[in-house]
C-alpha cells in the first residue's frame, strides 16, 4: 500500500478562546481516497479541515499537541502558502471565499500569488474551467453566479495550483438541491477521473454514502467510528446518540429483519429487490407498480373547506426592478387556518419572493393578498407583522441587542404595547422556545441553532397567527434541524398556521400536511404532502428527489404497499403487515 498522503498522530487542540476542539485524533488518508467527516456541529469537523492546510495553528493559533504531516510536510513547520500548493480548501459560505470581481480573476488568484507565469495560468485556466464545468460562465462576474456555481468556482480557484488534496468544509450546507448535486458530482469527478484525494466534512449522508470510500465520525473532538459508509451508517444507535443523521435505509434495515443473513442494502433498487423477494412479490405480483399520477391530476387543490383562509393569494405577479421576467407570475393559493404547509422548489424559483409579498416587504404589481379575509393593501409592514411573522434564513441580520430578552422585547416596544404586556409576551416567547436559561446572554455568542430560536422568539412574541420559516434548516446539523422543526410543530399544535420553505424533503414529508411546489415563478403543484412526492417528473424539473424512504415505498407498491407513506415507521409497518399476509404464521 502507498504511503499515506495525510498522517495525523495524537492531535489535540484547544482554541485561543479555551474551547477544546480535538482530542487525541489519529488518522491516515491514502492517495486517491475520498474521505468524509461527519459529526454534529461543534464536533471538530471544521477544526480538523483547517489543520490539513495549516491554517491551524499557523493563522488561528491556540494550544496544540501531536503531529500533522500532509504530502510529507509537517504543517506546523511550514507556512500556509507552502502547504496550499498541495492542499486546496473550500469553505462553507460561498460569499466569504470569493474576493475577485470575476470568474477568471478568482481562479487565477492562487496561481498569481505563487508567481506562475501568465501563459501557464492561461493554459491551466482552460483545464480547470472544464473540470468544474464553468467554461460558458468564464466571463461572468462572481456575483452573477448561483450558489452551486460559486462553490464550483471556489473549487476551481484551488485547482489552479494543482493540489494533490482538496479539502471541503461543508461546501453544500447553504445550497439548494441542484447546487448540492453540482458540487458533489464535481468532487466525485476530481476523485475518480483525476485521482485527487478528497476530504469532505458534511451532513449530507445520502451523498456521502454514494460517493465516499471511507467515513470518520467525530464526537466532541474524537474519532468514534470509521470505516466504509455501508458499515459506519449501520451503527444506528451510536449515530443517534451523537445526533448524526442516519440514512433512511440504514435505519429501516436496523429494525427490519429480512433474514438470509444479508443486511438490507443502502441502495434503493437493491433494497427494494431484497424486500420484494422477502415479501414474495417477485413470484406473484400482488400490487400495482408505481405510476406517476396523470397530468389531469396536476390540477391545483381547490379545497372547499377553506372557508376561513389564514392566507389568500389571488393572481399575484411581482417583477424585481430592472428585470423583464417576473419573479412570480399569476400565483393563486389559499392556506386555511391551522395548517402546516411546506413550500419547496429550487432557488430562484420564487419561494422567497412570495413570502416577502405576504409580509408586505414587496408590493405585487398585480393581484391581491388577504390575511384572515382582510386585504393586505394599505397596511404597513409593522402592522402586517402582528398577523403574519416571517423568520428569515439568517438570524444574524436582526440580532443587535445585548441580551436575548432585550432582543425579544425590541419588536414589542415598536408596537408600543404597555410594559406589563411586553413582559408577559417576552416570558411566553422564552418559554415556548426554551431559551429561558439564555435570557441574559449576548445573542451573537450563541450557536447558530440557538440564534435561530432567538429570531423565532422575537417574531412569535408579536403574536402573529401565521408564521413563515424561510429556509430555517440551512447550515444546521441533524439535531438543530429537528429542534427547530419540532418548535415549528409545537407552534402549529398551539394553533398557529405554519408555512415552511425548505430544501429538506425528509422534514417536509414528515411534518407538513400540504406542500406547494414552486418553480420558474409559478405554482407548479399544490397538493397534500402524501401525494406530492408521487409527482416524480415534476419534482425532478425543480431538481428535487423524494426522500429515500419514499422512493423505496414507491418501488414496493408493486408488492402491495399502499400509497401516501411518508415516514420510516409507516413504511416499516406496511411492510410488516404485508409480510404477515404472505407468510401468515410468522411473528
Amino acid at each position: 500500500m502507498a504511503d499515506p498522503i495525510i498522517e495525523i498522530e495524537n492531535l489535540s487542540y484547544t482554541y485561543p478562546s479555551a474551547t477544546k476542539a480535538l482530542t487525541e485524533v489519529s488518522l491516515k488518508v491514502f492517495p486517491g481516497e475520498y474521505l468524509a467527516i461527519v459529526g454534529a456541529n461543534g464536533a471538530g469537523k471544521t477544526t480538523l479541515c483547517m489543520f490539513l492546510n495549516g491554517v491551524i495553528p499557523n493563522v488561528v493559533g491556540g494550544r496544540v499537541s501531536g503531529n500533522v504531516h500532509v504530502c510529507g510536510m509537517d504543517t506546523f513547520e511550514h507556512h500556509v502558502y507552502d502547504i496550499a500548493q498541495n492542499v486546496g480548501l473550500v469553505l462553507q459560505d460561498p460569499e466569504s471565499q470569493l474576493f475577485s470581481a470575476d470568474v477568471r480573476s478568482e481562479i487565477a488568484f492562487a496561481a498569481e500569488n505563487r508567481g506562475v507565469p501568465r501563459d501557464e495560468i492561461l493554459a491551466r485556466m482552460g483545464e480547470v474551467l472544464k473540470i468544474v464545468r464553468l467554461e460558458e460562465l468564464a466571463s461572468r462576474l462572481s456575483d452573477e453566479l448561483s450558489g452551486g456555481q460559486k462553490q464550483r468556482l471556489a473549487i476551481a480557484a484551488n485547482l489552479i495550483v494543482r493540489p494533490k488534496i482538496l479539502v471541503a468544509d461543508e461546501p453544500t450546507s447553504q445550497l439548494d438541491p441542484i447546487g448540492k448535486g453540482e458540487v458533489f458530482s464535481t468532487l466525485s469527478s476530481l476523485n475518480k477521473d483525476f485521482g485527487m484525494t478528497v476530504v469532505i466534512a458534511s451532513h449530507d449522508v445520502d451523498e456521502i454514502e454514494r460517493f465516499a470510500d471511507r467515513v470518520i465520525v467525530l464526537d466532541h473532538g474524537s474519532i468514534i467510528l470509521q470505516g466504509p459508509p455501508d458499515q459506519v451508517f449501520r451503527e444506528v444507535e451510536t449515530l443517534d446518540r451523537i445526533f448524526v443523521h442516519v440514512p433512511d435505509l440504514a435505519r429501516l434495515g436496523k429494525t427490519l429483519n429480512i433474514g438470509g443473513g444479508q443486511p438490507l442494502s443502502l441502495e434503493i433498487p437493491k433494497a427494494a429487490a431484497q424486500i420484494g423477494d422477502w415479501l414474495g412479490c417477485g413470484k406473484i405480483p400482488s400490487g400495482k407498480a408505481f405510476e406517476e399520477p396523470s397530468i389531469s391530476r396536476l390540477e391545483l387543490t381547490k379545497d372547499s373547506s377553506i372557508n376561513t383562509p389564514a392566507v389568500e393569494v389571488k393572481n399575484i405577479t411581482y417583477s424585481y426592478p430592472g428585470t423583464s421576467t417576473p419573479a412570480i407570475s399569476n400565483m393563486t393559493f389559499a392556506i386555511p387556518k391551522g395548517q402546516f404547509v411546506g413550500i419547496i422548489g429550487q432557488n430562484g424559483g420564487g419561494k422567497t419572493t412570495i413570502m416577502k409579498c405576504l409580509v408586505g416587504l414587496l408590493k405585487p404589481s398585480q393581484g391581491e393578498i388577504s390575511l384572515d379575509n382582510k386585504p393586505l393593501k394599505g397596511q404597513k409592514v409593522g402592522e402586517i407583522a402582528t398577523q403574519i411573522g416571517l423568520i428569515l434564513q439568517n438570524p444574524d441580520t436582526q440580532l443587535f441587542c445585548m441580551s436575548v430578552e432585550e432582543e425579544i422585547r425590541f419588536g414589542l416596544e415598536n408596537l408600543h404595547l404597555p410594559p406589563e404586556e411586553i413582559e408577559r409576551r417576552t416570558e411566553d416567547a422564552l418559554k415556548i422556545t426554551g431559551l429561558g436559561t439564555f435570557r441574559q446572554l449576548y445573542p451573537f455568542k450563541l450557536s447558530l441553532g440557538d440564534r435561530r430560536k432567538v429570531a423565532v422568539a422575537s417574531i412569535v412574541a408579536m403574536r402573529p397567527q401565521v408564521l413563515i420559516f424561510d429556509e430555517p434548516l440551512t447550515g444546521q446539523d441533524h439535531k438543530g434541524r429537528y429542534e427547530l422543526v419540532n418548535l415549528a410543530e409545537d407552534l402549529h399544535q398551539a394553533g398557529h398556521t405554519v408555512i415552511m420553505i425548505s430544501h429538506d424533503m425528509e422534514l417536509v414529508a414528515r411534518y407538513t400536511q400540504r406542500t406547494l411546489v414552486v418553480g420558474k415563478g409559478k405554482l407548479l403543484l399544490d397538493a397534500p404532502t402524501s401525494e406530492v412526492f408521487d409527482h416524480v417528473s415534476l419534482l425532478r424539473e425543480t431538481y428535487i428527489d423524494p426522500p429515500e424512504i419514499i422512493q423505496l415505498a414507491q418501488d414496493l407498491r408493486r408488492c402491495g404497499l399502499p400509497s401516501g407513506l411518508l415516514s420510516i415507521d409507516q413504511v416499516l409497518e406496511a411492510i410488516q403487515s404485508l409480510r404477515k399476509q404472505t407468510v401468515p404464521g410468522e411473528r
Binding site: R118, Q398, L399
Partner: protein, 270 residues
C-alpha cells in the same frame, strides 16, 4: 454593479491599458478644472459624449448623472446670476437685485466644468475591470497589499449593500422602519439596529475570508505574476498621441484666441 458588468464588455476603450486611461483622465480633468472657457468645455463635453456609445455605455447613465446634478446646476446658475462679481448686463430684477447675463454664463461654465469631470468617470469605471485596474496600479509600483485591499473593498460593496437591505427588511418585520422616522429619530435610534448586525455579520464573514485568502497562497515570498496584461499596445500609443494633439490644440487656442475669460465676447465689469 452595473459598471462592473459593463466593464466586462469589449470595445476599443475597454482594450486600452488602464494606465493610458488614467493618464488621459488626468489630462482631461486638469484642463477642465483650469478653464472657464465655455466653447472649450463644450468641446470637451462633446468628446466625452462621443466616447459613450463607443464604449458601449448606455446613455441612460448620462441621464442619471444629469438628473442627479440638475438641481445643483440650477442653484449654481441662479446664485452666480445674482452674485457674479463681473456681472454688468441685467436680464431681470428680483426686487432690487439684478440677474446678469455674465453671471448666468459664469454659472453655466461652472456647471459645464462639473459635468465634464463627472462625465468622464463612467468612461473609466465602466470600461476597466477591477483586476485590470489592479494590475495597472501594480505597474506604477503601488504596494500589492494596498492594491489587494482596494480590490477586496470594491468586491465587498455589493455584498455590504445586499446585507444592509436584508437587515433593513429583517428589522421592518419587527416594526422598526426607518423610512417612517423623522431625521432626529433616525439619528438617535434608527440606525443602531441596522449597523450593529451589519458590522457583526461582516466581521464574521471577514474572518472566513482571511482563512480563504491565506489558503490561496497570499503573501508567498515569490514575485507575483498577473493574469491581466496591461502592457501598452498600438491602440494605447494612438490614444495617447490623439489626446496630446487635442489638448495641445486646446492650449494653443487659449494662448492665441482667448477672447475673454469665458471664451465669449462679453466684457467684464472692471
Amino acid at each position: 454593479m452595473e459598471s462592473l458588468r459593463l466593464a466586462q464588455l469589449n470595445s476599443v476603450v475597454h482594450r486600452l491599458s488602464p494606465l493610458t486611461k488614467l493618464f488621459i483622465m488626468l489630462l482631461y480633468w486638469g484642463t477642465a478644472l483650469f478653464t472657464f472657457n465655455i466653447p472649450v468645455l463644450l468641446v470637451m463635453t462633446a468628446l466625452a459624449l462621443v466616447l459613450y456609445p463607443i464604449s458601449h455605455i448606455p446613455l441612460r447613465t448620462l441621464r442619471i448623472i444629469l438628473t442627479i446634478m440638475a438641481a445643483i446646476f440650477v442653484i449654481f446658475i441662479v446664485i452666480n446670476g445674482f452674485m457674479f462679481y463681473g456681472g454688468k448686463t441685467p436680464l431681470f430684477y428680483f426686487f432690487k437685485w439684478p440677474f446678469t447675463l455674465e453671471g448666468m454664463f459664469f454659472g453655466f461654465a461652472v456647471c459645464l466644468k462639473i459635468l465634464a469631470v463627472v462625465m468622464l468617470i463612467p468612461l473609466i469605471t465602466s470600461t476597466t475591470t477591477l483586476p485590470k485596474l489592479m494590475a495597472g496600479l501594480a505597474v506604477i509600483r503601488l504596494p500589492y497589499k494596498f492594491i489587494f485591499t482596494f480590490g477586496v473593498a470594491m468586491r465587498l460593496v455589493p455584498l455590504v449593500t445586499s446585507t444592509y437591505f436584508d437587515i433593513m427588511a429583517s428589522q421592518r418585520l419587527r416594526g422598526h422602519d426607518i423610512s417612517e422616522m423623522n431625521y432626529f429619530k433616525r439619528l438617535i435610534k434608527g440606525y443602531v439596529p441596522l449597523f450593529i448586525p451589519l458590522v457583526l455579520t461582516l466581521l464574521r464573514r471577514t474572518a472566513d475570508m482571511d482563512v480563504a485568502i491565506e489558503s490561496r497562497g497570499f503573501g508567498a515570498p515569490v514575485k507575483r505574476t498577473y493574469l491581466q496584461d496591461v502592457r501598452p499596445t498600438r491602440s494605447d500609443v494612438f490614444a495617447l498621441v490623439l489626446s496630446l494633439v487635442i489638448f495641445a490644440g486646446i492650449i494653443y487656442y487659449f494662448l492665441t484666441q482667448h477672447v475673454s475669460q469665458m471664451g465669449l465676447i462679453i466684457q467684464f465689469q472692471k
